[in-house]
Symmetry: C2
Subunit: 133 residues, 2 copies
């Protein structure tokens, strides 16, 4: 059993850049234990993950702001505070802020993560245009 | 991908009694998908789970009140809002409110749950007496 008071004590927040576009800060809550890790992730306007998959799935819990989540082959879905997202094991997806807002969410990631291509400017802009959200 | 706006729309909150002691309400957020389920659980004063295990582990995120979590063979640990608990896969444990407070937590349960004996009045009272919290 591991009990965390608020966040991992004394741990450094990490500026994510390799597999993200834009400015994204990850704040550690639970280090990787048994393949499970918890971070609170803050996306600044325009920032988003690259396409990726979680072997065991992922849970997002939106805390503030407004953003997007998009699974491969589907439309982007608008995210607001109070929303919970279950991303299926192995489902390729991206998530991030909108072009004009921040978004902070808790991310509970299960199993190893596999990273793919970045979400290009065109694909990201299309999220803001789609009607089927 | 499954997106939940706040909680499972229209779902009924469930009074848990078979495997809990006292009055406990579970409010559904995410129904069981891929073996993962999310509930927001409210324990009234004195209420607690029976001893149990989650095959894939469990994450507790404390929202309000004050309570206990206890793994088999160890002391009870006091829980407060903002705390996150990672319960290991197969780790036998119980959690609940203190005798004089409510506790509400989000519970993210991974894999099937196996239930065992109830936490007797003596074992529950001992949580309140221990020093090693």
């Amino acid at each position: 059993m591991r009990i965390i008071r608020g966040r991992a004590a004394g741990a450094t927040s990490t500026l994510r850049s390799d597999t993200f576009a834009g400015t994204v800060w990850a704040d550690p809550v639970l280090p990787v234990i048994d393949g499970t890790t918890i971070n609170v992730v803050t996306f600044t306007p325009g920032a988003r993950t690259d396409w990726h998959e979680h072997t065991g799935g992922q849970i997002l819990q939106v805390l503030t702001g407004e953003g997007w989540v998009c699974a491969a082959g589907g439309p982007a879905h608008r995210l607001l505070p109070g929303d919970t997202v279950w991303v299926l094991p192995g489902e390729r997806h991206w998530h991030g802020a909108t072009a004009t807002t921040v978004m902070t969410h808790t991310a509970i990631s299960l199993g190893p993560t596999h990273w793919y291509d970045e979400v290009g400017p065109g694909g990201y802009a299309a999220a803001h245009d789609e009607e089927s959200r």
